[in-house]
């Protein structure tokens, strides 16, 4: 063993040191990139809450499409002639515009690309591929309607069952 080898025994070589340094920089770069990606997903949103109270069942008349919560929450609350309550999200399933309710014609029409929907939410005409979504609707302890926009359904066999419909909610004024 030469004197140089004795001198260097147990020490970190230049190559190893540079390798460690570069690996550290690489890890830092990846972590920074990941943090930057995460940065673009905000934790707090200043939007209307997805769960909201929509008055009492008695506030709605049978056969009426109420636009009370359309402006604030983008939701129509509908009471069928039989008194069952359901909520439809006012969000066109084509590309997300807000349809308008035409009471005289009894259907929803989207201004962007002209899809017509029935009062049930089914597509009558136009480019929308699927029916409008129904939202989960229930009563809270005080008998008020609570609509949850996070839970939605538009398949005909599922949307007419709880939690997407409140069968004869009483107070069918």
């Amino acid at each position: 063993m030469s004197t140089a080898d004795q001198h260097n025994a147990g020490r970190i070589g230049r190559r190893t040191l540079l390798g460690l340094g570069l690996s550290g920089l690489g890890v830092a770069a990846i972590a920074s990139a990941a943090a930057t990606v995460r940065f673009f997903f905000p934790k707090v949103l200043f939007e209307p809450p997805s769960v909201f109270v929509a008055g009492f069942p008695g506030d709605y008349r049978a056969g009426e499409v109420s636009e009370r919560f359309k402006e604030s929450n983008r939701v129509w609350v509908i009471k069928s002639r039989e008194g069952a309550l359901y909520a439809i999200e006012a969000n066109c399933t084509h590309l997300g515009c807000t349809p308008a309710w035409f009471a005289d014609e009894g259907n929803f029409k989207c201004p962007c690309h002209g899809t017509n929907f029935s009062v049930e939410g089914d597509v009558l005409a136009g480019p929308a591929p699927v029916p409008l979504y129904r939202l989960a609707i229930r009563l809270d302890g005080q008998g008020r309607l609570v609509i949850d926009k996070r839970i939605k359904e538009n398949r005909p066999d599922k949307r007419n069952r709880p939690p997407f419909v409140l069968p004869d909610a009483g107070g069918a004024a």
């Binding site: 990606v37 673009f40 997903f41 905000p42 949103l45 939007e47 590309l95 997300g96 515009c97 201004p111």
Partner: protein, 253 residues
């Protein structure tokens, strides 16, 4: 006359002048070459051109017109930024103020708008010219790829600028456009094989929320005024440089 000559001589011999203008007017090929090479603005231009590259029907100057429109858009865009605030409560009113209250505001806004429309057009015509003259073929094939990136950037600049007036047209056009992002496979919450929900998919990252609002306006503003132009300038530098390295303007190689 002698007095004028003396003053000119005094000025041109001063250190200030000589540090700024190192060489006189070039009178030979070497001097003309050095003038181009030693100037930061002129050096983007090749020192020598093939006569064929100057024929108008070889290029119709479409790339040059596009670059010129980009310069107009940069200048008018920066001027518009002095009056426009990307706030949902103010944006539309600021746009109206630019149109009706700010001196020359209507002129600047319309210059920006029409230049933007024209730039999309000239980029497409430039691409068609390059295609029809076969100028995408080796060794220029990589520059075609850079050109495609610049085409996408031009469209993204056009699209992000579209939201800024914050009127009904802008709002719903961007609602529709970003919902197409929601239909992307895997990363969009409405697309096939979706793994993300409405509040963590790619559309959410783009508009900073589940619907078009303040975050979306601010994000599109920053993308439109800072991020996308920076990337475009870098890619334009690469694009022009490669034109020279790949054998110069439109001519058979």
């Amino acid at each position: 006359m002698n007095a004028v000559r003396a003053v000119v001589a005094l000025l041109t011999k001063s250190q200030l002048y000589r540090s700024l203008i190192r060489y006189g007017a070039p009178n030979d090929n070497r001097g003309r070459m050095l003038l181009i090479l030693n100037n930061v603005f002129l050096h983007l231009h090749p020192v020598k051109l093939h006569p064929m590259g100057l024929r108008i029907r070889h290029t119709f100057c479409l790339g040059g017109i596009t670059a010129f429109l980009f310069a107009i858009l940069t200048v008018t865009g920066v001027l518009l930024m002095f009056y426009y605030v990307p706030d949902t409560g103010r944006a539309y009113d600021d746009m109206k103020d630019l149109a009706f209250a700010v001196p020359f505001g209507m002129f600047l806004r319309n210059l920006h708008r029409w230049s933007a429309h024209a730039m999309v057009l000239t980029v497409i015509l430039h691409m068609a010219r390059v295609f029809f003259t076969g100028a995408y073929r080796p060794p220029r094939e990589f520059n075609w790829v850079v050109g495609v990136m610049l085409l996408v950037l031009t469209l993204l600049l056009s699209y992000t600028g579209y939201l800024l007036p914050w009127d009904q047209l802008a709002f719903w056009a961007v609602t529709v456009g970003t919902n197409m992002g929601a239909a992307a496979p895997v990363v969009g919450h409405n697309g096939p094989f979706a793994v993300a929900a409405v509040d963590n998919d790619i559309r959410f990252a783009l508009i900073g929320g589940t619907e078009i609002g303040q975050n979306a306006l601010l994000r599109f503003y920053v993308l439109h005024c800072v991020a996308l132009p920076l990337v475009a300038v870098v890619l334009m530098g690469v694009h022009f440089w490669r034109v020279r390295k790949d054998g110069g303007l439109a001519r058979p190689l």
